[in-house]
């Protein structure tokens, strides 16, 4: 347990310091959201309608683009080999690393949502709903994306391939995240159903992701 806590503490600290790049994700999120009005026009009513979708897409892309940080730095300096050979189960270490990554990258995205909601003319309820769904859904993005990150580090060429592999897997999260936000804002359909499914997706990826990532690391690095 102490080993896992140490991994989490180390990863969060590394991510937050110079060269860690945790906050670049938030900056990217902000940039994507700011770009949107230039594409669809400064129509506040339209932006309000598209708001949840824009925020979700921005968060999805931001968490996707920061994913390659999950393993590459450790792979470059050799500590990944030590982790793979270590006594702590690799699955648990992968889960801990993904949790640390989420704390450093995913949580700031959620925290930034209220500010970005203002830019998109979302009212308090809508902003709260989007932030809540992002809080529930971004762990799923991180934990499924971790599989792609593990594959990419094994293949030594991440980048576009990682995106191509991970994006289809994140479709369910996107669907239910946006659906839950829209249900809370305007829809006649209940908020509870898509939100519970979103939580279920996060929990399921919490189980599947570490195992698949650990399998690809273990098979790929030897």
């Amino acid at each position: 347990m102490t080993a896992l806590a140490a991994v989490i503490r180390r990863d969060v600290r590394v991510a937050l310091r110079v060269g860690g790049g945790a906050l670049i994700g938030v900056l990217f999120f902000l940039t994507v959201v700011v770009l949107m009005p230039f594409a669809v026009g400064p129509d506040l009513a339209l932006l309000k309608k598209l708001g949840p979708a824009i925020l979700w897409l921005g968060a999805l892309l931001a968490s996707l683009l920061t994913l390659d940080r999950l393993f590459t730095a450790d792979h470059d300096d050799g500590s990944l080999d030590l982790i793979v050979m270590g006594r702590t189960p690799l699955e648990l270490v992968c889960a801990a690393k993904a949790l640390a990554h989420w704390l450093a990258v995913g949580l700031p995205l959620v925290a930034a949502t209220p500010v970005l909601g203002l830019l998109l003319n979302l009212d308090a309820v809508a902003t709260g709903a989007v932030a809540l769904t992002l809080l529930a859904g971004t762990p799923a993005l991180t934990f499924t994306g971790m599989v792609g990150a593990a594959l990419a580090v094994v293949l030594r060429r991440g980048g576009l391939l990682l995106s191509v592999l991970v994006l289809p897997l994140s479709i369910p999260v996107l669907i239910f995240g946006v659906a839950a936000s829209n249900a809370a804002i305007s829809g006649p359909s209940p908020f509870g159903t898509p939100f519970s499914i979103l939580c279920a997706l996060s929990l399921a990826s919490l189980v599947i992701g570490p195992f698949a990532a650990a399998a690809s690391l273990r098979h790929g690095l030897d």
């Binding site: 594959l151 094994v154 391939l161 191509v164 289809p168 479709i171 669907i175 239910f176």
Partner: protein, 243 residues
Amino acid sequence: MPLIDLANPSRFLTLAGRILPWLVAVTTLVLAVGLYQSAIAPDDYQQGATVKIMFIHVPNAWLSMFVWGVMSVAALGTLVWRHPLADVAAKTAAPIGAAFTFLALLTGSLWGRPMWGTYWEWDARLTSVLILFLMYLGLMALWRAVEDPSRAARAAAVLTLVGSVNIPIIKFSVDWWNTLHQPASVVRMGGSTLDRSFLIPLAVMAIGFTLLFLTLHIAAMRNEILRRRVRTLQMLQASKSVA
């Protein structure tokens, strides 16, 4: 015959050489019968002759999922049993599966034009097949990204298994997404409401296409084994000429 007997590629090659001519003959026969039956099947009272696209479309759609199943079994073979032929099977199945998926999309689109008035509709089924197609392409890209075949095999095996967990989830979520946003305006083909005059040709075509996949797959596996041997020989040759 246990699968382990096939672990020797030479034995597999012999067996494939013996089976393939028969398989080709049976496939041709079944497909010919199926096509004939499809041709003489009556026109639908609403859809007219376009209903015959179904006899091509449905087998392709069925195979698009079946091939992923085959790849998942092969992925288990790679990761769990380390069966030497499993990665050959997985690698060669991916392009064939992608081709079937593409044909399902293409025929579906051509069928959609006269029926729905549009080539593309964000219908739940079409969308999930499109995502399946994207995942096939991603898998093929993964295979091509690594030079060492056994490393590529293990990476692709993990992705295939993750995909086989995810595909039902994607299918479910896309169904949910579509039914929420759209009233039931899209023409949907109810499987159980199909008349016998359509059902029998469809079954024959489905069997024929499955046989076609088996034939193509075994032939592709044989080619892949031979290709790997050629590569090994070339490497040997190159190392000899250097030394």
